[in-house]
Symmetry: C2
Subunit: 406 residues, 2 copies
């Protein structure tokens, strides 16, 4: 019999499903499985020595302050560092426009808590980031999916869907998770125009922006939006909220992300965070500041780029060498993922069952769609496995896929 | 003009008010203010050396693992340590009954997310913990307040309110925040009986249980409930969810708390946490384990008890020496707070204005009540200021209060 507590779950919990990705991770943790399933950074890129020094410095220099409660907004030097970083990319924000979050996932949760009424529609890419859906399902959001291609959101599709009155547009413009595609510069401008035309704000999620392996950096939506509208120049008051994180550049284990938003929005998010977890770990914020400061972050990102570029290239070459005709894939210019498309009648979940027996894993794409489509798609991560493992894993996966091809 | 984002706040944000306590903290951060307003532990109790050693050990021994993503449930050795600790207090739970949270505040948030539908009633003590109200306001909870006295919940009042059908009973049995009172053993048993009679589960919040300065330890509600009902002895399936934290025993800055619950409830809370922040900082959990392990936690708590006992005694003696007749206060057996009651027509907020001019601060009690009462009450924290500051601060405060007495 269920305990009294279990009889009392709220309605919203019916929509909380355990993440397909995370459940799969459990299956694929066996040491001899080559996993392209997760989204883990390569541990060999973690600046362990710098973290060790920073931890020691924080304890020595800040002592008890590092172990005490701190403000909900976040550690001010870290907020200033992030604001300065943003300003270099052409958006004028100050520390007051920054809220430090317990990872990027908390940023998505707080956005849901502050903006989403039950039944509100959110316009998302198709496919879209699963973690965002998990965050907003708890607030009983509904989704409208706009079509995408190799240049990201198809603007005509966005325009057509805007008439349904979404609360906001969710966009992951750089090396999107899961598809790996990048929103082109033209489409970025058009997306802002469409959003402006309908008076709908944009949530820009940018965990991977710094991890570009080829081509030129494209300005963020938040930057283009700022240039697009006349401002008084003093304080950020644009229609884009921007999210990013240290999880892919320094370490996911410290769980540090941030939100860039107008001050009035930050204030409301701060109130929501007070009730959510009071503040993000003081010591983690201080350590991350010491690690990132002095230009280290930008310098370290170059190392990560070199390592991940090689892995992406290895995966693309292995796919080309081993995969049967009839399967296509994206060619991401950065990030951690690429995206497979099998023939329409092939179910990726069936492939996965065989693949796990053959000690290779990936994520079937269906859970990244809000409309039940995408059964013939799959996400592959190329950041975590070594180039040798990638070659071997893709060869194994090709043999599994071939069994299902006509 | 409001930005587009600010025009789109969800309905629930209307109930999110910035914490009175936290806003006040800003006013009282000036170095010459003696503040009894916050709930900060004494920084001199933080085991800084042990944290420094543990940080260094974690980086050396675990390396990249400490900086990588980890499971939502929490670091297994830490969950096992907490389960073993709970078992010593007479409740049979295993690591699978434990979820590590980003501080106790996140535990309250997750409880709200998993259990509270809009309009659900929660039965709370009057006064009750403000942080819980902040967490659950976001889920549009309503509250029913039961009366309390110097022994905590008055059972007749609880019984009378149960007919309104609360979702659960919220109880803070040890040295309650804000009042400092402790639920007596008899009343603990009676509360469980009443809850059982009506089939309503209990949420037990116990951040201060280990910080007892006099009298015998009283068994937790979760322990009594386990003894009360026949179980198969194998797995915890009681009607009490139990919350605690390292914030008052090791450090608040690391933001680590935990939930003890039946496995089926833990699973649902894990799903909610996946969408909320994925997992709590890996490195913080590993460091906290290394700090707490080997019996250090129990040993360190003795030191904290000695320091806080002296501060409590100093505050009680100073109140007796300086305060005018007509003001009463509680005599907490542990914890961080005591509670003042002024004559009925005296408004504590008026006293605070004068007090801040006189460089002493406290929290007016009104915000701890859900029914707008308590204007003549105040919460005093005795853990953060030194005994000398407590003497001086209480003398100052007595002069302010005297101005308002008839």
């Amino acid at each position: 019999m269920d305990t009294l507590w279990a009889q009392r779950f709220a309605q919203r919990t019916q929509r909380m499903k355990s993440s397909a990705v995370r459940e799969l991770l459990k299956l694929t943790e066996l040491p001899d499985v080559i996993s392209f399933a997760g989204g883990l950074p390569a541990p060999e890129t973690f600046p362990l020595e710098r973290f060790t020094e920073a931890s020691s410095k924080v304890m020595t220099e800040f002592g008890a302050r590092a172990l005490q409660y701190s403000t909900t907004e976040g550690y001010r030097p870290l907020r200033e560092l992030i604001a300065a970083h943003a300003s270099r990319y052409g958006i004028q924000v100050e520390a007051d426009n920054i809220l430090i979050t317990s990872g990027s996932q908390q940023a998505l949760d707080l956005i849901g808590k502050v903006f989403v009424n039950p039944g509100d529609h959110i316009l998302v890419e198709s496919p879209t980031y699963l973690g965002a859906l998990q965050a907003w399902n708890a607030y009983q959001a509904e989704y409208i999916a706009a079509d995408t291609d190799d240049d990201g959101y198809i603007i005509e599709s966005v325009d057509a869907k805007m008439r349904t009155g979404p609360k906001f547009i969710y966009a992951l413009p750089n090396f999107q998770n899961p598809s790996g595609v990048t929103l082109s510069l033209d489409r970025r401008r058009q997306l802002i125009e469409v959003a402006d035309h309908y008076g709908v704000p944009i949530l820009e999620d940018d965990p991977y922006g710094q991890l570009r392996y080829e081509g030129d950096h494209l300005p963020a939506l938040v930057t283009l939006d700022s240039q697009f509208r006349p401002t008084n120049g003093a304080q950020y008051s644009g229609n884009v909220i921007y999210l990013s994180t240290f999880s892919k550049t320094l370490s996911p284990g410290v769980q540090l992300g941030w939100i860039v938003a107008p001050v009035e929005v930050i204030k409301k998010l701060v109130q929501a965070k007070q009730g959510t977890d009071l503040h993000t770990s003081t010591v983690s914020q201080m350590v991350a500041y010491e690690v990132a400061a002095g230009g280290f972050l930008d310098q370290h990102v170059k190392l990560i780029r070199a390592i991940y570029r090689e892995r992406r290239d290895t995966m693309l070459a292995s796919l080309k060498a081993h995969f049967p005709p009839g399967v296509t894939w994206t060619r991401p210019q950065g990030g951690l993922f690429l995206w497979l498309k099998f023939p329409a009648d092939l179910n990726a979940a069936d492939v996965l069952k065989v693949a796990i027996e053959q000690k290779v894993a990936f994520v079937p794409g269906e859970s990244f769609f809000v409309d039940g489509s995408g059964r013939n798609t799959a996400r592959l991560n190329f950041s975590n496995a070594s180039p040798d493992q990638i070659e071997e894993g893709i060869a194994r996966l090709a043999r599994c896929v071939s069994q299902f091809m006509p």
